[in-house]
Amino acid sequence: MDYDFTEAELAFFADIKERVKGNGSIDALERKDASGDAGQIRRLLGALADTQYLKLGLEPVEGLSGHLALMGAMEVFADISPSAYLSVEASGRLFGRAVSRWADPEQKQRYLEPVLAGKAMGALALSEASMNIENDPLATTGEKQGDSVIVSGAKQYVINAPVADWIAAAGVCGGRHALFVIEKETPGLMIDPWLETMGYQGTPISGVTLDHCEIPADRVIYPEKDVNMPAKVRMWENQILLGASLGLAKTAFDSAKDYAKHHKSGGRPVIAYQEVGFKLAEMLTMLQTSQLLAYKAAWSLESEPAESEGLIMCAKVFCTESCERICSEALKILSATGYIHGSPAERAYRCAKFGQIAGTSTEIARVKIGDAALGYRK
């Protein structure tokens, strides 16, 4: 047992913090990119490529504890710029991880190397309007025609879709799950306009329509037959959202704490009033509990894999719901200061809801946790 991060991990977190902060205006990262090419996020990807950040979770990294170190770094990143974080993660930890996990060597060379080098952006399109919680009736299909595959379907809420170099669309081909890697200019690929969202406003998100997109057959990635690909991708999304929830909660807590220590009312800092100080105590309790639970869930991926799915589900529910509560309480403490557009706590509050909705929603996660307790599923 050991509850400390190593010196190397702490130095790694500090490096990530410096690189994200040093990549230009955070406010600009948190706004919809007027040029539409996500240039600042691409520059950030380049800066992160000089570290081990993009490789974590995809391959072993010497001196760092895999998913656990990744969770700590995710927290640091999301605390600074949640929008850039979500975009970088979608490229590296969804698209990149899928390629790393399931692609053949040639495909890896073509797609993974540029993504890990920060030279290309990927997106993984999973969600569909008709997707059901208990099964995975992916309506997106690929029909083999000679050396080509014709892909048809519609995807919604695809992170990075408006700017990605490649979109890996999840679907079915030849009776098995597949990822169709579609390049930006492929005929039949229609990318909807960048969605206006409540939070993560700097993250490029849109719907995607695939209208008889013809791609070479060697651009289809097939997961192993025994892998439930949609469920696996959901778990990866859950990890990303866990990291985000820690970062957002920390942003909100730190903002409220600093304000409560410096803002005076009745001649003393407002933290001296129990209704503020106690609120902060409750927020910190949720934050520290969230951190430990998320770290343990991340640790379990490598150390206790049989337990990891259940722990990630538990952490997903607790951390994302606590995050929203922390952000909400922060806004009460910050009063009008926090309500102004662009304040870190206001931004965190707007982003917080996404964590409960995306990935495995907290409602569905509870069902799955309950099913596991009942022995209805592993």
Partner: protein
């Protein structure tokens, strides 16, 4: 970071659960109903080695580390042992025996610790007073030195094991003019003239533990019963906080696992509208809430234990966070478990109503949730 328990720890936990389910749990309901302390079960805890787990072997213990000791508390909760017995164990082993072990001279250690470790003696700790709860410095109990003796006067309240204790650690002011620095700690034996206990208080929960007032009326004790030196009592009481925030919280964590298992079994068997209630999403949500509390609370409690094993000074902020979380959040799962059982959950036959009643102590005992918030808000 590494959250793994050793193989030995995991095996030990299973052994405790097996032992407790066989030897203690069948007796719980009866004693809870009649609000009686289960002396036999307490002695069995001693025989099994749980009461003195963390003491060195020469004092009747097993030399276990703190994590293993905390695990024992969790295991008792997970087996279904009631909060009354685990509270009695906590007050006995950590608040009383450990304070004597840490601060008494060798003669007193040899005299008391082995008997406390085996369960031959029952211990208690007297700190709280009618007008001095969290505000310890305002205690009114005094200890006046007279030659080779101290004379204690005052009263204590809400003392777990008070009516049944053979040995008490009593905090009193040797210098009433001072605040915290005037507090000292003493060993007081049952039967000492002037020392008596009130009738057991009737409580909402943890009913098998006996709780009462203690009275000190010109109670004369040997000067050698002073623990450490005069004025060190407050710091000694703070040292028990480490146990309070780990070992004494662990049974609440274990109880969550017990509830989860019991609720899942019930939900699979109980049918409504033609199918087990476990098939309904609302039932699954309740089970999930219990599991989530269990997983979240575990991390906090074992972190305190692990830090203590590393010899680190107590991080008061993290300790308060652990107490606040377990205290405030354990009630929700207990309520969920009781409701999941429906009408049966409200009846004593099923254990959920007892666990719910027991859980109500968590945000009160050992420093209320509000006090934890006060500590946290000051430290941040």
């Amino acid at each position: 970071m590494d959250f793994a328990f050793t193989r030995e720890q995991q095996m030990f936990k299973k052994e405790i659960i097996r032992f407790a389910k066989k030897e203690i749990v069948p007796r719980v309901q009866e004693h809870d109903l009649k609000e009686g302390f289960d002396f036999e079960s307490f002695r069995k805890l001693g025989d099994f080695g749980i009461l003195g787990l963390h003491f060195p072997e020469e004092y009747g213990g097993s030399g276990a580390d703190v994590v293993t000791t905390v695990m024992a508390g969790e295991a008792l909760g997970e087996a279904g042992v009631d909060g009354g017995l685990t509270l009695a164990y906590g007050a006995h082993s950590f608040l009383c025996a450990d304070t004597i072990f840490r601060h008494a001279g060798e003669k007193q250690r040899k005299k008391y610790v082995p008997g406390l470790a085996s369960g031959e003696y029952i211990g208690c700790m007297g700190l709280t007073e009618p007008d001095a709860g969290s505000d310890v410095a305002s205690m009114k109990t005094t200890a006046e030195k007279k030659g080779d003796t101290y004379v204690l006067n005052g009263s204590k309240i809400f003392i777990t094991n008070g009516p049944i204790a053979d040995v008490a650690v009593i905090y009193a002011k040797t210098d009433p003019q001072q605040q915290h620095g005037g507090i000292s700690a003493f060993i007081v034996e049952k039967g000492t003239p002037g020392f008596s206990a009130g009738a057991p208080l009737i409580k909402m929960g943890v009913r098998t533990s006996q709780t009462s007032e203690l009275f000190l009326d010109n109670c004369e004790i040997p000067a050698e019963n002073l623990l450490g030196e005069e004025g060190q009592g407050f710091n000694m009481s703070l040292q028990t906080v480490e146990w309070d925030r780990s070992a004494l919280l662990a049974p609440f964590v274990g109880a969550a696992k017990y509830m989860l298992n019991e609720c899942a079994d019930y939900a699979k068997k109980r049918e409504q509208f033609g199918r087990p209630i476990g098939k309904f999403q609302a039932t699954k949500h309740k089970l999930a809430n219990i599991r989530i509390f269990y997983e979240a609370a575990k991390g906090l409690v074992y972190k305190i234990a692990w830090c203590k094993d590393q010899g680190r000074p107590l991080n008061h902020l993290e300790a308060a966070v652990a107490k606040l979380f377990v205290g405030d959040w354990c009630i929700g799962p207990a309520n969920d478990a009781m409701v999941l059982f429906g009408g049966y959950g409200f009846c004593h036959e099923y254990n959920m109503e007892r666990i719910f009643r027991d859980s109500r102590l968590a945000p009160i005992g050992g420093g209320t949730s509000d006090i934890q918030k006060l500590i946290i808000s000051r430290l941040i």
